[in-house]
């Protein structure tokens, strides 16, 4: 027989109690594992960068030229691996270790480019290219301007 009395049933838990409960049941990030993997992957990427710098130095580039050429090579590699659909797997494993190096920056530009190509080259690729990398550029450039101005006056 259906109940015809109105209202009352409400779950007996306060928002504060629920918050504590949710914290208890939400799995914690696997911090130690993530840090170790980030160290490993980040280290490997940087070691590879160093190998490329040494190769460029070996063929007669100055240290500064070799470093710039190696950065370009790493950006190429990051973009290529993103295009091949491999970099997101590396990122899933390595976390910050593959996001922080310049290959990660390449990934953050190429992945929206691939993603939004279907919306066209202007409103898609053009408009969405910096959705991920944009904040890094905005605050990176802003910080470098501030530091530059401070350095100019303090010297």
């Amino acid at each position: 027989m259906p109940n015809q009395t109105l209202r009352k049933p409400a779950i007996s838990i306060s928002p504060e109690e629920y918050k504590a409960l949710a914290q208890k049941y939400t799995p914690k990030p696997t911090l130690t594992k993530n840090i170790l993997r980030a160290f490993l992957v980040g280290g490997l990427i940087c070691a590879l960068g160093q190998v490329i710098i040494n190769i460029f130095s070996g063929i007669g580039l100055t240290p500064k030229e070799a470093s710039n050429a190696a950065t370009a090579a790493m950006i190429f590699l990051g973009s290529l691996l993103t295009g091949l659909g491999v970099y997101d797997e590396i990122g899933k494993f390595g976390g910050a270790g593959s996001i922080i190096p310049v290959t990660g920056f390449a990934n953050s530009i190429v992945s929206p480019a691939m993603e939004f190509k279907r919306e066209g080259y202007v409103q898609g690729v053009g408009a969405k290219l910096f959705t991920v990398a944009g904040p890094v550029l905005v605050y990176g450039i802003a910080a470098s301007i501030i530091i530059g101005v401070l350095a100019y006056f303090l010297h």
């Binding site: 109105l6 970099y87 990122g91 996001i99 953050s108």
Partner: protein, 335 residues
């Protein structure tokens, strides 16, 4: 004619609408999951020859809708209304599928609870005498959802342990006034409940109180308990949300009976690296249209309560720091 409402928020059907047929289409990952054998069609890849993921999702929905019509063995012209919904902006997957179906169409948005909500609405239309046959369908697609709600799919990031994996799939059901099949006996329309969860990668926690509230009210309105059902399935709470909903119900003194489980927990297994489980409109839809309907038809399950769970936020509201409102809609199905 008396009011068909019971208690606060439940409707009771005098002439329970019949589920004449159901059809589930899924993507490759879902096909490899533990319920793979229960789906009618498994796509080999996420695009299936379409130009975009959005078109692929819409085509998947069409396949499911057409599948349930042909399984019911009735003509398309006998269908009075089509109810459909999905997760994309302006529910485009459904609109585009409806364009090809050319049936009188009502678009429904209940986020991931859309299947249960549409079943409730379709049943009301039939029992209310407004329709003989109502076609219901919902879809979701992992890649369309990722690009709308989260990050570009090729971006190398780590997902939170509480995050869920949007199911690629579409589920459809054809409801009829008469015929053979499981019947929808009652439906409880949920209230929007918000306990302040702001983490968009912990949707289970955002939706659990709403699901618990709907179950509590369903039992209160019909003066029944979990023992009256063989199987109670929430839509896509995932492991975190299911544990939370169970705990909240226990604390509220509600007996959920022998089997309280979640479609999002069942659709993938632990080796599939989905973290807290599946989500999306298709999650509860394909598990219901596939596994649960098979068991109801075989009478292996006699009374099922399906509670679709929805997180009613948008990417904008999440960025603005708003908490995530949750909702749960329940439908009771008897073999």
């Amino acid at each position: 004619m008396g009011l068909k409402r019971a208690g606060n928020q439940t409707v009771l059907f005098d002439n329970p609408p019949v589920i004449l047929s159901s059809y589930a289409v899924v993507g490759p990952k879902e096909g490899k999951g533990p319920l793979g054998k229960t789906f009618n069609s498994i796509w080999q890849d996420q695009l299936n020859g379409e130009k975009t993921w959005e078109l692929a999702e819409s085509k998947m929905l069409q396949e499911a809708l057409q599948g349930s019509i042909s399984q019911a063995g009735i003509g398309k012209e006998q269908i009075d209304f089509m109810l459909a919904g999905d997760l994309l902006n302006q529910i485009v997957s459904s609109n585009f599928a409806a364009r090809l179906m050319a049936l009188p169409f009502i678009g429904v948005y209940g986020a991931c609870s859309t299947m249960a909500l549409s079943l409730a609405l379709g049943s009301m239309m039939i029992d209310g005498g407004f329709a003989e046959h109502v076609l219901v369908g919902v879809s979701s697609h992992h890649d369309t959802a990722e690009r709308q709600f989260r990050a570009p799919t090729e971006q190398g990031t780590q997902r939170a342990m509480s995050a869920q994996w949007t199911v690629t799939g579409a589920g459809s059901v054809l409801l009829g006034k008469k015929g053979a099949g499981p019947k929808i006996t009652s439906a409880t329309i949920g209230r929007v409940i918000d306990y302040g969860e702001t983490d968009a990668s912990n949707m289970g926690s955002a939706m659990a109180p709403a699901v618990a509230d709907t179950i509590l009210n369903h039992f209160h309105d019909l003066q029944c308990t979990g023992q009256d059902y063989d199987h109670i399935a929430s839509g896509d709470l995932g492991t975190v949300g299911l544990a939370l909903a169970s705990e909240v119900l226990k604390q509220s003194g509600v007996d959920t009976g022998t089997e309280f489980t979640d479609c999002g927990v069942r659709i993938f297994d632990s080796t599939q690296d989905v973290h807290a489980g599946g989500s999306g409109c298709a999650c509860s839809a394909v598990v219901f249209a596939g596994d649960l309907m098979q068991k109801l038809r075989a009478r292996a399950l006699k009374r099922v309560l399906l509670i679709g769970s929805g997180a009613l936020h948008s990417p904008t509201s999440a960025l603005q720091g708003e908490s995530i409102p949750g909702i749960g809609h329940a439908v009771a199905i008897e073999a």
